[in-house]
Symmetry: C2
Subunit: 340 residues, 2 copies
């Protein structure tokens, strides 16, 4: 073997390659055990601590609260939990256009409620209508359409309509801390489901792009479907019969029917979520029930109407109440790109 420059260069090259490779491995390792805050838009406090502790406990092998991956089911209400629901839920805002179109064709309909209130923009009357009845009327206003054409209409609306207060697309009005929580749970091998009083067909249009939740993990209200034979094959039509209005106890029954397993984490914001929050808290194993409290008039809305029983039960059973004013450092994703 000759000595001299070539051999030295050879050794140095090898050394450089090895060091690069070691450095790369070390970086990868460091990233794996990194202590980066998984919930940067949450303020420090009890809510954040409890979420982090719960996830740590159920995921750490050997922990007495350890939950195997296949049982890590988390359920989230949609309106007012993952996204804004004031002055009306997304689905209402979308359906009002349909209501107006139907009333234009049928002048008799235009004199009936809720059509009249929608046409007149009469928010007081709308607010005083039974929300269950109102939502069912809105859903049924799409009877006769196929799921596909309904979803195309939703998609078109979402790319165009803007929220009256924020003047932003509805897709911008999700809660940033909740998006981080979804990511954090996913990283810890949770399977996350939306369990909403709004229509499943409606939420499925944006659950993938907005929440990273695939269509089959959306459980919602639904009309009875009908299979129609066509020349080319089949079409699925939405009828005017309600199949399921997914609120209160129905959320629990639909979780049993669609998911088939008790969730270990449930997050809601109203009395319609109460039964579901109880379900997550009822098992023999660990469970975390969380209630979002809308107490931030400046950045969002201040309201507790329709959540009175849920708040009371959360207090008495020690569920975690998440106060938007106190616990959310940022509310909406667009705040992150703005000077504070």
């Amino acid at each position: 073997m000759k000595t001299g420059v070539p051999r030295r260069w050879f050794a140095l090259t090898l050394l450089a390659l090895l060091l690069t490779s070691l450095l790369f491995s070390a970086t990868a390792l460091l990233a794996m055990v990194s202590c980066k805050d998984p919930l940067p838009s949450w303020n420090a406090g009890e809510a954040k601590d409890r979420i982090l502790a719960f996830v740590r406990n159920v995921t750490q092998p050997g922990s007495p609260a350890f939950v195997p991956v296949q049982e890590r089911i988390a359920v989230f209400d949609n309106d007012g939990t993952l996204c804004l629901e004031k002055p009306v839920p997304f689905q209402f805002a979308f359906s009002f256009e349909r209501i107006r179109a139907l009333a234009e064709i049928d002048t008799e309909l235009a004199e009936q409620q809720p059509y009249k209130a929608v046409i007149d923009g009469d928010e007081v009357t709308l607010h005083n209508l039974d929300p269950a009845e109102l939502e069912q009327t809105l859903m049924i206003s799409f009877a006769g359409t196929t799921i596909e054409s309904f979803q195309e209409a939703v998609n078109y609306w979402m790319g165009r309509a803007r929220h009256p207060r924020y003047q932003r697309f509805y897709t911008e009005l999700v809660y940033q801390p909740m998006m981080e929580l979804l990511d954090y749970l996913r990283t810890n091998d949770f399977r996350i489901f939306v369990v909403s009083g709004s229509g499943a067909d409606f939420i499925r249009v944006f659950s993938g792009t907005l929440y990273g939740i695939p269509v089959e993990r959306v459980v919602g209200s639904s009309l009875v479907y009908e299979l129609e034979k066509t020349a080319g094959g089949q079409r699925i039509i939405k009828t005017d019969k309600l199949n399921s209005y997914n609120v209160d106890g129905e959320k629990v029954l639909n979780i049993a029917l669609h998911i088939g397993r008790r969730p270990i984490l449930a997050f809601g914001n109203s009395d319609g979520d109460l039964a579901m929050l109880e379900y997550a808290d009822n098992g023999k194993g660990p469970g975390l029930s969380l209630l979002l409290h809308h107490d931030d008039e400046t950045r969002e809305y201040l309201y507790a109407q329709g959540a009175e029983k849920a708040i009371e039960t959360a207090r008495s059973r020690g569920w975690q109440i998440v106060g938007m004013a106190r616990d959310f450092k940022y509310v909406f994703p667009f705040e992150l790109s703005q000077p504070r």
Copy 2:
């Protein structure tokens, strides 16, 4: 810098480390592109070729038939498609014990059908009963139980009962080629659902351990559930009202309701799967519909009753008919550990 042994050793060590690392990477790369047969229990032939070609086409980026991961939904019937269904489906065999127990308590019931036929072991009468009516009677025989206690009973039965012909546990009577197909599809990022006429609560007991399919990916027949308040919280009770009998067109409607997306691959074996096979073939994009034909009297059973329309449609529309005698090298997993 000194020359001599230490430096040479240093360079050699570096070289060895680098070579090891390169070898390791090469092995990993080789494993990734390895040509191991993913369907070893399938005989070479049209069925196997078509499955392999379909999966290759929908997964290869740039292919005109490429299907993005989020749209790779596959649906499988259960009885007679993933597992044996003769002389009666698993759920029937299980429920017959319940029927006998109920008839023992209620002697009047014992004189009615199907109770009388079950008690007498009268296979001819059972065979001539309307299968839809029979199955619904069997399901309703569990009215009043909770989902949990029902599933405990199923679990207990499965650990004990043996199939009359094979004298093996029911869990051993799944089709080995189908298990390989499930694995192969999973490897290619398909989300796989069982869509069965049997009860979802029933199949969920073993879908995870037998098929690797989690409970939330089981769509089946169901009774209406009822939420009962208890001192400790809630209980979910199965009522005696049918919620959904998941056969024929109902399979398509339940896929729309539970999954929310058209499958690109559907596998069934009877007329009850026909609508679902049409659904997978109806989209604008690629779709593969497969029908398992029970033509192997020696290793399994020979029958086409209740599959006549499906076979005819499969032929006329060019769906893939999988012949058990011709296409299955092995039928059951236990054959793999036996001398041939």
